[in-house]
Symmetry: C2
Subunit: 456 residues, 2 copies
Amino acid sequence: MENLKTYIEANKQRFLDELFELIRIPSISSESQHKPDMYRAAEWWKEKLLQAGADRAEVMETAGNPVTYGEKLLDPSLPTVLVYGHMDVMPVDPVNLWHSDPFEPEIRDGKIFARGADDDKGQSFMHAKAFEYLVKNDLLKCNVKFLIEGEEEIGSPSLPAFCAANKELLKADVILVSDTSIIARDIPSITTGLRGLAYWEVEVSGPNRDLHSGLFGGAVANPINVLSKLLAGMTDAQGHITIPGFYDDVVEVSAEERALMAKAPFNESAYKSAIGVKELAGEAGFSTNERTGIRPSFDICGIWGGYTGEGAKTVLPSKAFAKVSTRLVPNQDHEKIALLFKEHLEQLAPASVQVKVTPLHGGQGYVCPIDIPAYKAAEQAYEKVYGKQPVPVRSGGSIPIISSFEDILGIKSVLMGFGLEADAIHSPNENFPLEQFFNGIETIALFYDYFGSAKS
Amino acid sequence: MENLKTYIEANKQRFLDELFELIRIPSISSESQHKPDMYRAAEWWKEKLLQAGADRAEVMETAGNPVTYGEKLLDPSLPTVLVYGHMDVMPVDPVNLWHSDPFEPEIRDGKIFARGADDDKGQSFMHAKAFEYLVKNDLLKCNVKFLIEGEEEIGSPSLPAFCAANKELLKADVILVSDTSIIARDIPSITTGLRGLAYWEVEVSGPNRDLHSGLFGGAVANPINVLSKLLAGMTDAQGHITIPGFYDDVVEVSAEERALMAKAPFNESAYKSAIGVKELAGEAGFSTNERTGIRPSFDICGIWGGYTGEGAKTVLPSKAFAKVSTRLVPNQDHEKIALLFKEHLEQLAPASVQVKVTPLHGGQGYVCPIDIPAYKAAEQAYEKVYGKQPVPVRSGGSIPIISSFEDILGIKSVLMGFGLEADAIHSPNENFPLEQFFNGIETIALFYDYFGSAKS
């Protein structure tokens, strides 16, 4: 693959011209007037995959927006890579904060400015171009499949059913995704974990109507007082979650991976000043990155009850409510956690009130082991391009479709992202450095080389 | 006073006719279109006091609605009684639930049905008629002053300043008020205590914006989590308030008064079923009536923060708020308590958040000693009419003007109420039993006799 860099160099302008065609299609999935644009984007992807060297490509219907599927199958004995990306983008409001038209890409300061420049048009298109290089130079050592969807920014509502209906078509050894970031230009990283989520609404009911807090206060349980006590009791002074059995399925992260994670640079005072807090707070015994990456958390996302208007109104309210979430780490099952939470809350609730727990949302966490061949191949590829071993990063957030891929298709994903925190995805003036775009193409091409060699 | 009963019997119809004139004036103080009715009611009271035997009566302006002042001063050496009552009433909505016109009194089942029948037109007018009896029969042994205001139902905003500006005019040995209830027709009682109040808004501020609960959850203090813990910690498992120094000024109620209070009938299962709770809850070591009557309480009147809409939205909110009140017992100073609360909360708050406490309302508690001559006279009067010693009752509520009278004028109030719980004050179909109306006139007249004799 000695001609990889020269191939990229020679084709830079064409790669950008092609990407800009895609960017100019305003494929905003949350706005129904852009439905025709979703089909335009899907057809565009079909053409581009065929041009890049796919043997087959087609636009396939789902319950929502179409997906583009493409493939080049060399030999059943070779490993198969399924590339996942999305062609849809976020809305552009507030549009007046953009310095250039969000759908007319412009290069300034070595960056492409446009909606979708990074997320995920720029990042997904790198795969098409790495694939093109490998095919045109007869260097492809894997079977390759592409699945580019059009509903990621609205939570991929149709994709799980599409996957379930197309298991054979999507069969692969690994899913390769470029939809995340690296820590910094000079600090490559690979997102190896995503947290799961369990989310409930809690309702505490006391008296059958709002009572006079003078006549009844002190003799009748106040639902807000009770709710505060119940929720306060869910964590202890060390930041541990006190729900019995909550940590039973938490897999301790290996010392090796913690040591690698600790290499991620972290400037505590910059972190604090960015969010405007004087002190951080969390579970004792873990660093900030570990608290969000490899440990579960308990957050009250909303609370309400009683009088919330201006001034003073005395009332002993009939009811109080909260929205409560836990972020879960891989191997914790959100349905089991929901059960434990409900049982614990009901057991703690005094007989003076009624407690109701309603599950509102749940999703499993995801982890990519750092010792599987695909991860090792990705690691080698980054190291070759960036000159440094990439840091495995556990992200505190959740990308539900990644867990769904594992659940439905039984395939692990490797998240080879090339975004930077400064790319302003989902915000005005989204951008993607040209350097990252071309480095990405190179890194991905190298991945196939290492992965094909390792497996063959 | 052997002709008291016959005088009342002989004048029953006239007493009612006169009261009905007052009731027909729709003097709703919270509705500005009724401002002219406030003046009509004040003029009516002036006329009625003069007819009843006052030497002087006048309508006096305040910063808000007018008051009617009247007096009959016999001799500076005699004790002086200041009668306080109010001519304004609550609104009548929902008017469709009334079985008769709220401002056209109707007698059904031995009760007067109308807005103000009890609160406080019926109850205050009993004083005019008791006074009339005593004057017409030359039996008055006290100087008498009347102060009838027009803003009680909106919190008496103008009366404290009026009192401060008219201290000499309002000088008296005791203030007599009929604006409360007795326990039951056959269980007379006198309200001897009212709780004070301190009310604050608490604001907990964390990060400078709402954060992604996945990316930050577990590493950054969540203001709702913190607020729940702070508020939960304000009471312990025994229902005691944990603010240091909170109980320092609480005067223990004498065993004698507690024994008397315990005579008040209390049906726990009826109480629970009326408000729809399975169990009561409160401070260990005290009965329900003591918990609301002679002990302070801590109630969260309102709480809000984060996402409170439908469904699940994950957020680690920037701020959380609560409205918090304590009901205080006599001798606790609401300003001192506010300071203790603020200090305690600020001391408990972790460095990861900012806490702000804003006092919104405060009022002192009130207690009427059961051994002062006016209380003894009231007790004797009830016993004579009802055949039973009245039970001293500590009400959990607050009537701020009663505390203001003590603060500004330095005069104790005796709360000789004759309402019943079934009178539906503030609600549709407010009513007042004729029996209570006439018994009230009789009891009040007897009060003057006992009080005048005791002091002279």
